[in-house]
Amino acid sequence: MIADKLKSIDQELTIGLLSPLAKKRLNRLIISLGVLLSVLFISIAVLFYRGVGIWGINQPVAWGFAIINLVWWIGIGHAGTFISAVLLLTKQTWRNSINRIAEAMTIVALLCAGLFPLLHLGRPWYFYWLFPYPDTMNLYPQFRSPLAWDVFAVLIYTMISLIFLYLGMVPDWAVYRSRTKSAWLKKIIKVMTFGWSFKLGQWLIFERTMFFLAGFATVLVISVHSIISFDFSVGNVSGWHSTIFPPYFVVGAVFSGFAMIICLLVPLRKYLHLESFITEEHLDKSAKMMLYSGMLMIYFYILEFFMMSIAHHEHEQYLLGQRAFGAHGVAFWSMILFNCLLPLTLLKQRWRSSHPWLVLVSLGVLVGMWLERYIIIVTSLENDRLPSVRQVFVPTAWDWSLFAGTIILFIFLFLVFIRFFPFLPIAEIKTWLEEKEVEDE
């Protein structure tokens, strides 16, 4: 029985994952999303032409959607790295079939995130001043600034994630090389795959490299969002200046990342008929990860509010009150609902195994985590220490359109990946299958 099933999986992997119908559907979706991408391009063009004034930012709320979105997208990327690296290190073999999808999500989310620090600048055409390049006037970035750390953190993260994704695909590309008939393609793929020819020695090096990279990426899972959180905790704004931020942000990132994974896996599985690769077990484990990190978030919220309520500076207590009952009170209570209460329903096996509910909760978590950043950034800035400068932040249509634009970009790029790249790690799954077969026999 199992042997039969494994055989069919093997066949599916070898012949091709996407049915012609699925390919057609995907093509249509990609094209329509490509048209929709104009929302993003128009938003960016207007932004560059007119300036960041088109957003709702003001004094004192000098940071708005751009930074919220940056933090949110990077956070989403985290789950991918978590799955591919941390779970590889801890030898969680169930991850094998979804790790490529997770890695792709990371890269695509990082691309979306990477837009924001650029667009956020008042004078984006000088973004390169953030890099330490040999300048004729001996000017360097200032390394005391968390924003300068961000540049390195995000760039390193993107680089490692890219290498990880690319190297992981090498054996799969090689499979494609053996299948294709075009001599040119064969040559190109040979270069792309560094002359991979399924030799034992190559496999050994491959595994070692991946293991090493996984170790490196694991460190990044923790460090990147910690450094992003420094943007806030290093500042002296009440509501930002808190030592719990690094772990709080890392856990939050993994939380939202798993929510995004679930949101991507469930429809993929359904519409591309990948039930044999993306199994109930995958979804269940992802849901459990989300539940677990969500419970950690509850702990962090309690900690944050407690710390604020006993802070020496009475302004922190004022701010806490404003968050809950001020201009953005709705956002606060929605955040509590989406991030704390709804995920707890997943404690029950029955709720967890209902896919619509799972997707709904995950979407809630995505919204909730976005709101969390909104609350941290906006309400803290709005409720300045000096009452005279307090000012409410009202996002404009351009704020929303740019955010929507990056969501479209995310889905677009992700689908492009699914359509044209080996989104299942064929080699890894096959290895795993063979191991399984041996076990069964």
Binding site: R50, G51, V52, G53, G56, I57, N58, Q59, P60, V61, A62, W63, H120, L121, G122, R123, P124, Y126, F127, W129, L130, L139, Y140, P141, Q142, R144, S145, P146, L147, A148, V151, D231, V234, G235, N236, V237, H313, E314, H315, Y318, L381, D384, R385, L386, P387, S388, V389, R390, Q391, V392, V394
Partner: protein, 914 residues
């Protein structure tokens, strides 16, 4: 081309006494360069006029060095002596004139705003007849045609309206006109309606000042003089802890004025109650015998006033607002006289009103009745000031104005007036000192001055303002050394003092007062509408309500509750005179039975920025300031005010310190202050620092505008202000501290405090904000990429960001007003106070003009009427700024953050009694 032959010709003279001698060609080139923006108009001028800018090089000067000229600006009928900085023929900064007591080196907000008015692109740019451009000569023909008609009827059926003027020469010419055309109706339309009676106070001697609805420290032409006198005395008392020296200010008023904010005790009363109190005081002073009926609460106030006044005899003073009817003002002076204050704290002063003029109301009726065939308006704007008058009946309306306004809209012939920075004229300041106005630049447009128009009407030979000036100076004041007069700008003339009041008035006393009264005051930012067209002034937040670009009906929360109104809701105010509409703003501290508004808004002009916005109080009040009113809420979408401050309640203790005089005396001198400038980093000299005295700050906003002018700070418009993006480098925070009491407000000017441990500096990823060895926090504009992190991390939020390309306004005429020593900041760049680093550098290069007081002053400091701002080198222990730092009143803003600010504050001290 030849050099000037006429040796007697007077010329523009700067403070060093340098005049210009040179070729007409060069002069033309300079003028042409300056007028590049108006080149097409310049072509109309026949010759470059008599104004001769400095051309040939004088010793120790270069072309790029600025010159300073003493001149004067006439604002609402009073001359404001100023010194104007000019560079290459462009006036770029207005400062006060230290030789005049009315200025003492300080200026009002309005004098600062005049610079923009000079370059204002909205100015009328050429004479027009029925909308078509005409030549100046043609316009003069039109004028003479009018005069010929006057001659036929001795002026019958014709009228001339004038804006108030302080010039004796103008008065002389108007009187001449009246003699020549006895039946010509001449009307002076004074928007303030206060001019005919004048009393001078001596607040240096005044120990107790009781202001009855009198915004003495800010709301009048001579306010700065009094504010300085009052605050100087208070400062001295605070320094010595001398209770005998300490002055006391009580305020009874319907609006919450700046004087009310500074008062030691303030009571909100409506005008009717104030009148009752005056009657009661008069009764006790033995002036009127009939018993005044008064309610218990007001009786208590009256008793308190009378008791305190009697106790402080003779160094006390009771004043009433200028907007009250004459008989009430006279009554108050009688009370003062009876109590024996005359000669101690005040004396009456003769004023020279025009004789034989028509009252504005009579004129308004005559206009509507169709009495006139023709009207010449000389900058008075009757269509706005007399809203009930019908101008349609006129066959001919000639209007002279700087800006398009209601009367120009209705006029057949319009002609631009010269701006004061383009004019020669004589005037009187608020203390009756003679002032000389000399032009700083050629007129930008073919235009005439008041005096020139009058001279044309009189068929005088000399019709250029320069010649009129010269003639007036010698004929009226017997002054022939014109050069000397122009150099310092000050001419000593004999002061006219009178000793008696012309008093006789009848008194009515009704027990029941009006249910609701409407009162209007001069607007704190645009006065009577003089600065409607001025975005600098429009964007200045009103000191108490913080509204910009608008005015409102201000109501107390109690009254608003009665009518179920919220801020922004529209109401209609109906009086016996007329009605006006507008949004309300709810303001704590306003008297319950009053509706407060300000003059100058609700303009009927086709202008997207100002047209139709706000309350036109003239429509409901006419030329009176107080009337009984009925209000009805209107169903309209509420107006969103562009306010710069939303919260006024202060809960944090380290933001503002307030002490009573008693507490101050008990206070131990604080231990040696913070580590400012003592750390290793700041060993060199000088180390810059600033102190701002909250006791003396009267919230006049002159500092904000002076800074805007000096540092090329753009205005952003109402929409951007409502988004919270105003660019001012120094702002005026207004707080109510519920811990002390719920009513009193406090002013606190906030600008970059130049922290030694600056939080902004460490977070900039590109090092665009750094620290100088002299302790100033610098902003490197061309390194800034606009991450805005510095602003987030600034606990004082004093940084402003160029969200858009706000400087696009500069591309028009305003680019001539730019200070070349300060970078114009592009889009996407952060900016903030620099401690006027360009002035520091100029001072250090020793380039400061020898004729100027070489003392280094920041732009905000130099115009402050009460010297609330001190700036200087902290390593000099005798410098006022260091002395103030050692004061027991000194505190750091948000000291708990450990930023070690270089700008510190001195606590607000009130003379409180139980």
């Amino acid at each position: 081309m030849s050099s000037l032959e006429d040796k007697d010709t007077i010329q523009q003279t700067d403070l060093l006494g340098r005049t210009a001698q040179g070729l007409q060609r060069r002069e033309f080139m300079k003028g042409a360069g300056l007028l590049a923006g108006f080149g097409h108009l310049f072509g109309c001028a026949k010759k470059p006029a008599e104004l001769i800018p400095y051309v040939s090089e004088v010793e120790k000067t270069t072309q790029f060095q600025s010159q300073y000229y003493a001149t004067a600006l006439e604002i609402a009928g009073h001359s404001h002596p100023v010194i104007v900085k000019s560079l290459q023929g462009r006036p770029i900064k207005i400062e006060g004139h230290p030789l005049f007591a009315s200025s003492s080196g300080a200026t009002s907000l309005y004098a600062q705003a005049e610079l923009y008015n000079l370059y204002n692109p909205k100015r009328i740019q050429s004479p027009r007849k029925k909308g078509k451009k005409i030549e100046m000569a043609k316009l003069q023909e039109e004028l003479l045609l009018q005069v010929k008609k006057w001659k036929k009827t001795q002026g019958e059926g014709y009228a001339l309206t004038l804006a108030p003027s302080s010039s004796d020469g103008t008065r002389k010419r108007v009187e001449k006109l009246k003699q020549a055309y006895p039946k010509l109706d001449i009307v002076t339309l004074d928007p303030s309606a206060s001019g005919d009676f004048h009393v001078r106070y001596d607040l240096k001697k005044t120990k107790l000042l009781i202001a009855l609805d009198d915004n003495l420290l800010s709301g009048r032409a001579d306010a700065h003089y009094y504010a300085r006198q009052f605050m100087q005395r208070r400062k001295k008392a605070l320094k010595k802890h001398d209770s005998l020296e300490m002055n006391r200010l009580l305020c009874f008023e319907p609006q919450l004025s700046q004087t009310g904010v500074k008062a030691d005790e303030r009571v909100a009363l409506c005008p009717f109650e104030i009148k009752q109190i005056i009657l009661k005081l008069g009764e006790w002073a033995g002036l009127n015998n009939n018993k005044t009926t008064i309610n218990k609460k007001n009786l208590k106030h009256a008793q308190k006033i009378f008791k305190e006044l009697s106790q402080s005899r003779p160094n006390a003073l009771l004043t009433l607002g200028q907007h009250y009817p004459l008989e009430w003002k006279k009554r108050v002076w009688e009370i003062n006289q009876k109590l024996g204050f005359k000669g101690h704290t005040f004396w009456p002063e003769k004023t020279q009103a025009y004789q034989g003029q028509l009252a504005p109301e009579d004129f308004s009726e005559a206009l509507s009745s169709g009495k006139y065939k023709g009207l010449i308006d000389l900058g008075a704007n009757p269509a706005y000031l007399l809203p009930n008058a019908q101008l349609k009946n006129l066959d001919e309306l000639l209007c002279f104005s700087i800006f398009p306004q209601e009367t120009t809209k209705a006029s057949h012939v319009t002609c631009p007036l010269k701006h004061d920075l383009e004019t020669w004229k004589l005037g009187k300041d608020s203390l009756n000192q003679l002032t000389c106005t000399q032009p700083l630049t050629q007129p930008f447009f073919p235009s005439l001055s008041h005096d020139e128009v009058l001279a044309i009407l009189l068929f005088e030979k000399k019709t250029s303002d320069r010649k009129i000036f010269q003639e007036d100076l010698s004929s009226l004041y017997k002054i022939n050394d014109v050069k000397k007069a122009l150099q310092s700008g000050k001419i000593n003339t004999k002061e006219t003092k009178t000793s008696s009041f012309p008093i006789k008035a009848s008194w009515e006393n009704s027990a029941a007062g009006p249910a609701l009264e409407l009162i209007s005051y001069p607007d704190p930012s645009i006065l009577y509408g003089e600065y409607s067209h001025n975005p600098w002034a429009q964007e200045i937040p009103k000191p108490v309500s913080k509204i910009t670009w608008m005015n409102a009906f201000y109501l107390s929360p109690k009254l608003a509750e009665k009518y179920e109104l919220k801020t922004g809701d529209y109401i209609k105010a109906q009086t016996s005179y007329g009605e006006s509409e507008g949004p309300v703003s709810i303001l704590k501290g306003v008297a319950d039975k009053t509706v407060i508004t300000t003059w100058g808004y609700g303009r009927d002009i086709e202008d997207s920025e100002i047209g139709g916005k706000g309350v036109n109080a003239k429509k409901a009040l006419g030329s009176s300031s107080i009337r009984e009113v009925e209000i009805t809420p209107l169903k309209k979408a509420p107006y969103q005010f562009a306010t710069t401050q939303k919260e006024f309640n202060l809960e944090n203790e380290t933001v503002l310190e307030r002490l009573s005089f008693k507490e101050l005396k008990k206070r131990e001198p604080l231990p040696k202050k913070s580590a400012a400038y003592s750390s290793e980093e700041f060993k060199s000299s000088p180390q810059w620092g600033m102190t701002i005295d909250l006791t003396t700050c009267i919230g006049c906003n002159a500092c904000t505008l002076s800074c805007q002018q000096e540092n090329n700070i753009p205005f952003v418009g109402e929409d951007e202000v409502s988004k919270g993006r105003e660019m001012h480098w120094i702002r005026l925070d207004t707080y109510r501290v519920p811990k002390f009491d719920d009513e009193t407000l406090h002013f606190q000017p906030v600008t970059c405090v130049h922290c030694e441990e600056a939080p902004c500096e460490t977070v900039c990823p590109v090092n665009a904000t750094t620290h100088s060895e002299e302790g100033t926090n610098q902003m490197v504009y061309n390194r800034c990429i606009g991450t805005r992190y510095c602003s987030n991390n600034c606990p004082y939020k004093v940084r402003s960001f160029n969200f858009y390309n706000y400087t696009k306004h500069f591309n028009k005429n305003l680019k001539f007003a730019l200070n070349p020593d300060v970078t114009v900041r592009p889009k996407g760049v952060m900016e903030k106070c620099t401690y006027c680093v360009q002035r520091i550098n100029a001072h250090q290069r020793n380039e400061a003009d020898a004729s100027r007081d070489s003392q280094l002053q920041t732009a905000c400091q130099s115009v402050c009427p009460t010297q609330a701002i001190q700036f200087g080198d902290l390593t000099d222990s005798t410098h006022p700024v260091q002395v103030e730092r050692q004061s027991e009143r000194y505190f750091d803003l948000l000291a708990e953050l450990g930023t070690k600010p270089r700008t510190g504050y001195l606590a607000d001290v009130k003379e409180e009694r139980e």
